[in-house]
């Protein structure tokens, strides 16, 4: 009981994180354009490296003839695949509008490509969250 009260007291005495404009804009920019959340906070090298990593995964995934999932309510893995792909932000929008990744290719490296694209989206979300942590002062 005493421990619970101590935890509550510490939580209430901790300074509240101010929700600044940059703390909102950085993760959104980072999601839309990989690395942009870091670049707009002048973390140039981190931003460029994140952008390079996500874009290389996405482009190589397309090159390996990976599938880009559309929104669907079918198989659970297809739904999760869509959310993974959607994490790439504008890259996903461009790929869908250009109809890239639509061919059904029964080839093992095409399956690699599909996974590359999903992981690019998931890593981009991790990057966007990191941009938020920097903007909100939780990380230097």
């Amino acid at each position: 009981m005493a421990n619970t009260n101590e935890v509550k007291a510490k939580a209430s005495s901790a300074p509240a994180q101010a929700l600044t404009a940059i703390a909102i804009a950085a993760p959104i920019a980072g999601w839309l354009v990989p690395g942009a959340g870091h670049i707009m906070q002048k973390r140039w090298i981190r931003g460029l490296l994140l952008m390079l990593a996500v874009v290389v995964l996405f482009v190589v995934g397309l090159g390996l003839q990976g599938k880009v999932y559309a929104f669907n309510t079918g198989d659970l893995l297809d739904i999760l695949g869509f959310f993974g792909d959607f994490g790439t932000g504008l890259l996903y929008v461009v790929a869908r509008s250009m109809e890239w990744g639509q061919a059904v290719v029964p080839h093992v490296t095409a399956d690699y490509g599909t996974k590359y694209i999903i992981v690019a989206g998931l890593l981009n979300i991790v990057s966007a969250v990191d941009a938020y942590h920097i903007a909100s002062g939780k990380k230097p």
């Binding site: 981190r46 490296l49 994140l50 390079l52 990593a53 996500v54 290389v56 995964l57 190589v60 397309l62 090159g63 390996l64 003839q65 093992v108 490296t109 690699y112 996974k115 590359y116 992981v119 690019a120 890593l123 991790v126 990057s127 969250v129 990191d130 990380k139 230097p140």
Partner: protein, 60 residues
């Protein structure tokens, strides 16, 4: 554009990109980022080699 990659090179490229993101996002200073990224890459690469040998043993 159609790319042809071997299993190993595809796994190493994946490991490199994932390690860069993990290193940058999971640590605070550049030195720690570099060390953690290299650590993740080494674990990925070692995991690929170990998994390859395990699959070879299963096949026998």
């Amino acid at each position: 554009m159609i790319l042809e990659l071997s299993h190993f090179s595809a796994a190493l490229l994946f490991a490199l990109c994932a390690s860069v993101v993990f290193g940058i996002t999971q640590r605070n200073t550049p030195r720690e980022m570099l060390r953690y990224g290299a650590y993740c890459f080494a674990l990925f690469a070692a995991g690929v080699i170990v998994a390859g040998w395990v699959m070879w043993l299963i096949k026998r």
